[in-house]
């Protein structure tokens, strides 16, 4: 017998006789119409951003090259980079920057460190007690900053205030540089603590219980579990809070500074936002304020980018 082995190929193949006809492509107009809906849905949000954020930003960039006193009747006077040069030579700017950095760092104690401790402690509380506890901590968030400031002003009064009576030692909180700075930071922290605790609690809830269970069975102590498992897994949340603090602290302290100290005593509480406001709306030096605003915008942008990068590096996706 003679023969040959042939490879078996039993897979279905498109038959060669049928030439595939290119599926009719819809007309460009039709394709555009199909692609449009998602962009239409985005339009209101993009529109608002453009009108309320990007247009003023562009206007500020433009304004920073002019000298103008905000009066519509006065013409804008082009000064080139003069505003920026004057700005960088001004010691007030560096003082305000330094103060802002220090206050932000101090504020991190209330928006990151303390909330983490509180959330870790309260996470063990179950049932109704937990809700009551959370509500108590969250309540200050609901107090309007200016109203809060007014009440704090009474409480911090050196002759009849509750705070000085409590500590039994008269301190002029609002009119001495150090105490004034502390007061601003503590009152802002008191406002933010509840919100931060809520965010950290949500972050804790997002960590799978199995990790802590596994760590317990691996005979790790509570402190080891917290340090080696919970905190690293919580770190993206903490970086987010730090980012919020850095970006918002200036704005959040503003109503307090304005109500309590007006930047004083001796500009001890004049942070960059208060300084901006003074230049723009007290001295009416719009171009100068705009150039300072842009400088801060860039500086905060750099810090924020760094923190976002950090957050990305710390996020561990399981699976």
């Amino acid at each position: 017998m003679t023969g040959a082995f042939v490879e078996i190929d039993a897979l279905p193949r498109p038959s060669a006789t049928v030439v595939p006809v290119a599926a009719a492509r819809p007309s460009p107009a039709r394709r555009l119409l199909r692609a449009l809906p998602p962009y239409l849905f985005l339009l209101p949000a993009i529109g608002c951003l453009a009108v309320w954020t990007y247009r003023p930003l562009a206007a500020a960039v433009n304004l920073s090259f002019f000298s103008w006193n905000l009066l519509p009747t006065t013409p804008k006077e082009p000064v080139g980079l003069d505003n920026y040069r004057r700005l960088l030579e001004l010691p007030d700017l560096w003082h305000a920057l330094w103060l802002t950095a220090a206050m932000t760092l101090a504020l991190l104690l209330f928006t990151v460190a303390l909330p983490t401790v509180v959330a870790l402690w309260t996470s063990a509380i179950r049932g109704r007690g937990r809700a009551v506890y959370r509500a108590m901590i969250f309540a200050p968030v609901l107090v309007p900053p200016v109203a809060g400031a007014a009440v704090w002003q009474w409480m911090l009064d050196p002759t009849s205030g509750a705070v000085d009576r409590l500590i039994g030692h008269p301190i002029n909180w609002i009119h001495e540089p150090g105490p004034a700075q502390i007061a601003i930071v503590v009152i802002t922290g008191w406002h933010l603590l509840g919100f931060a605790v809520l965010v950290v609690s949500a972050g804790l809830a997002g960590i799978d219980d199995e990790y802590t269970a596994a760590a317990m069975l691996d005979r790790a102590s509570r402190w080891q579990t917290t340090r080696w498992i919970t905190l690293p897994l919580l770190s993206p949340t903490l970086v987010f809070l730090a980012l919020m603090t850095v970006l918002m602290s200036g704005q959040l302290t503003f109503p307090l500074i304005d109500t309590l100290t007006q930047g004083g005593p001796d500009s001890a509480t004049t942070n960059v936002y208060y300084l901006l406001w003074e230049w723009g709306f007290q001295n009416f030096d719009a171009g100068f304020a705009a150039s300072a605003g842009l400088l801060f915008f860039v500086a905060f942008g750099v810090v924020a980018t760094g923190l976002v990068r950090l957050s990305d590096r710390l996020t561990f996706h399981d699976n």
Partner: protein, 398 residues
Amino acid sequence: MGRIELDGLTKRYGDVVAVDGVSLDIADGEFLVLLGPSGCGKSTLLRLVAGLITPSGGRVLLDGRDITHAPPARRDLAMVFQSYALYPHLTVARNIGFPLRAARTPRAEVRRRVEEVAALLELGPLLDRRPRELSGGQRQRVAVGRAIIRDPRAFLMDEPLSNLDAKLRQATRAQFRMLHETLGSTVLYVTHDQVEALSLATRIAMLDDGRLEQLGTPTEVYDTPASVFVAGFLGSPPMNLLPARVECHDGRVRVLADDVEVDLWPGEDVEARDVILGIRPEHLHLMAAEGPAGPGGMPRLRGVVRAVENLGAEESAQCAVGGALVHFRGARPLGLAAGQPVALTTARDHIHLFDRHSGRRLAWRPLADRPLADRQSADHEPAAALHDGVTTHQRSST
């Protein structure tokens, strides 16, 4: 040492009883598998032993010491989680070394032990990776590595193979068996997979609805299931269970149902009763020729083939017998087609009987010398009512 005793362990969630008075004595070095369907309470039972859940009642003893209320870290047990629970931010080496690091072991010692374990589990090249960069099988091995790096009294495993594909599962089963032989430690293993249970266990604890249904070696559990539940859970397809009736006719004890006739042995004066007749699919054969169904005849089931399934090496046929569906499997090809009438038979040794109401297994006990009144009362203790010979404990095959 690693003897675990459970004494009436109970867990209630409101009105739901997840674990219902389970008592078990797991000897040192034993590989005990908790087997049951989802929701039978097996994982809850494991977590009670681990200390991750507090029991509503009962006790857990480890080497005679009451650990019912000891925190997990004080129990000296290691656990492999179903999700593996690998710490996502730590490398493989740090994951495996975690228990030692928690015990403040010197760094050099930790590194040495991690390398040992990694070599044993073939994880050497992966030590610097993070869990998300590992495949399912690799993650599973890291979880095992983290458990075996210290020398716990017992290992708890919660469905460790359920996230692996079939081929990997088989390889890992062999690895578990090897590990158990090398380490010689006690293992308490939860699974819903009967193949895992039968192939790994030294003993199987079958759980249903939070209660212990049967405790025995894989052979005992498979060959002499203690209840309809166990019979219907094990085997693929599981045991055929048909409602039937034991009767006495013309001096013979017989089991009868629609299209089913099983002649057991000579007997008189046996109380008629409702039973469930059980026959494993692999124990059924085609009847060569229609033999006589009279005294001494082979058990006979008549039916019509409904469908034939190709299982690879074997074929499984579903046959309508009376009102029930009977599975029967044998070497391929069975030579059957849908619609074909068939007559099936089996060896008398392979007949299982269960009480219709309680679902418990029936065994035959001769009662010749006892008065009738006793026999009637014995009716309420089904386990003692029939001859062990019906359902021999030793099977010739397998």
